[in-house]
């Protein structure tokens, strides 16, 4: 690999690594064959290339499930570089992806019985779309990876298929100009790749659209939950303790007296904001996610009030306490719902800013007013 040339025309690819700047172990080392999904080697013009399994194992799927739950997220990576799928030759297509293992697995699992080259970019374990937004799935990284894997020697054609969602980071014409490879924008979904290849690398208009189907919306819920569950539990504890400090009974009696309902109300807010908003996203009134979250919070609170007699028949919540949670549950749910914008596939930065600047003051005001009502109900009006 000592023939790698320094990046020409620095003005156009100012950040590309030259041989002198690059860390050899991170940039130019071929992928290790000691990865679980490597099943052999394929000969190419530049030597042996690691061949990957075209079907996913239970272990691969388990890894994806764990990552969905925020476990092992940062180590769910594959070595960047060139891989072979099936038995590719110099005429086989080249498909580019990220080194997040879930992205890589979706790609290799989508092409049973096909012979392709897979070029994996170093995106620090981030998926294609997010990495393209950050620039790590980018023109410079693609350029470096094409040069480092000596792709011009591996294949005789001059086309590479880059996922369309990589386009925010990759300037296709720049790649063509500097490497000779024409970037062909692949479909949004890896599962459309066989049809795309069979139609001579042409995508139907529907293959170019990013939707947000129910399964995809719900797959992102566990990660969102793990990020807020701890804080919600702390809040619950806080309300249990504060509830115990007032009310004129023993600590435990007083704690359960208003604290139990507080725990249920916070749980309702958590579920409304992080589960119901994604679940019912297209059907909730309002474009802003904070409004959607406000609605789910309001409805689940009313539902909670309606069934609270069944949960603790001995105690009916007081009017001021009811008002307190009427303010706090929708406010919290609205905040949590608004956070789901980051997981969604169609919210713009300008839109999120617009919504935040308007929603956060209202959420904060409602939350504070609700908390004051709750304190009054606990300490002054008992």
């Amino acid at each position: 690999m000592k023939t790698v040339p320094p990046v020409a025309e620095k003005g156009l690819l100012p950040l590309a690594l030259t041989m002198a700047e690059a860390k050899p172990e991170t940039v130019f080392k071929p992928p290790s064959t000691d990865q679980d999904f490597v099943v052999g080697k394929v000969a190419s013009a530049v030597g042996q290339v690691a061949r990957v399994a075209a079907s996913l194992t239970g272990q691969d799927r388990m890894g994806s499930w764990l990552v969905r739950c925020n476990i092992g997220r940062m180590s769910f990576v594959v070595d960047p570089g060139l891989y072979a799928l099936g038995s590719p030759n110099s005429g086989s297509p080249v498909l580019v992806t990220a080194n997040y293992k879930m992205s890589f697995d979706q790609l290799r699992g989508a092409l049973p019985g096909r012979d392709c080259w897979l070029l994996v970019l170093d995106t620090k374990g981030i998926n294609v779309w997010c990495a393209a937004g950050k620039g790590t799935f980018g023109t410079v990284e693609l350029y470096d990876r094409i040069i480092a894997s000596r792709l011009t020697e591996v294949v005789s054609h001059r086309k590479i298929i880059v996922p369309q969602l990589g386009a925010p980071g990759v300037n296709g014409l720049g790649i063509k100009k500097h490497t000779g490879f024409q970037v062909v924008w692949g479909p949004v979904l890896a599962s459309d790749l066989p049809a795309f290849l069979d139609r001579g690398m042409k995508a139907e208009p529907a293959m170019r659209c990013k939707g947000f189907p129910l399964a995809e919306r719900m797959a992102l819920v566990p990660v969102e939950l793990t990020q807020v569950v701890g804080k919600t539990c702390l809040l619950m504890l806080f309300f249990l303790i504060f509830s115990g400090l007032g009310g004129g009974h023993s600590f435990w009696e007083a704690s359960l007296d208003m604290g139990l309902f507080a725990v249920l109300a916070l749980l309702a807010a958590l579920v409304s904001g992080t589960v119901l908003v994604p679940l019912m996203l297209p059907w909730l009134s309002g474009r802003a996610f904070s409004i959607k979250g406000m609605w789910t919070g309001l409805f689940s609170y009313l539902f909670l009030v309606a069934i609270s007699g069944l949960v603790s028949p001995a105690r009916i919540i007081g009017p001021l306490e009811a008002v307190a949670w009427l303010l706090m549950v929708p406010a919290l749910s609205s905040w949590l719902g608004m956070n789901y914008t980051g997981a969604s596939t169609y919210t713009s930065r300008s839109g999120v800013r617009h919504e935040m600047l308007r929603a956060i003051p209202v959420q904060a005001a409602a939350g504070s007013a609700g908390f004051l009502c709750w304190l009054a109900a606990r300490f002054w009006l008992t």
């Binding site: 997010c130 393209a132 925010p168 990013k210 980051g342 969604s344 596939t345 930065r349």
Partner: protein, 92 residues
């Protein structure tokens, strides 16, 4: 229902701009856009669904004549808070 037509975010906020005078009608913007913002009319790109735009900047990054401009960024609360507080942080 065709994919992508189901969801729409807040109207009249996106920063996308197209200079039709520069446009050569190559169609790359239409190809890379994940939300069908563009169409091609009489050899020029046209913004037909501006409010579908999520400011991913795929079009602007790939426009050969820099006819497109967009203030790109992640539509993500955590990213914007980090940005407002001037700190580095994770989004997705």
């Amino acid at each position: 229902m065709k994919r992508g037509g189901f969801f729409r975010y807040i109207d009249n906020v996106v920063t996308l701009e197209l200079d039709q005078g520069l446009c050569t009608g190559c169609g790359i913007c239409q190809e890379v856009c994940p939300h069908q913002v563009f169409s091609l009319d009489h050899g020029k790109a046209r913004i037909v669904a501006r409010d579908n735009c999520m400011e991913c900047s795929a079009c602007a990054r790939n426009c050969p004549v820099q006819a497109l401009r967009v203030e790109a960024g992640e539509g993500c609360v955590r990213a914007i808070i980090n940005e407002l507080l001037g700190r580095e942080g994770e989004c997705c």
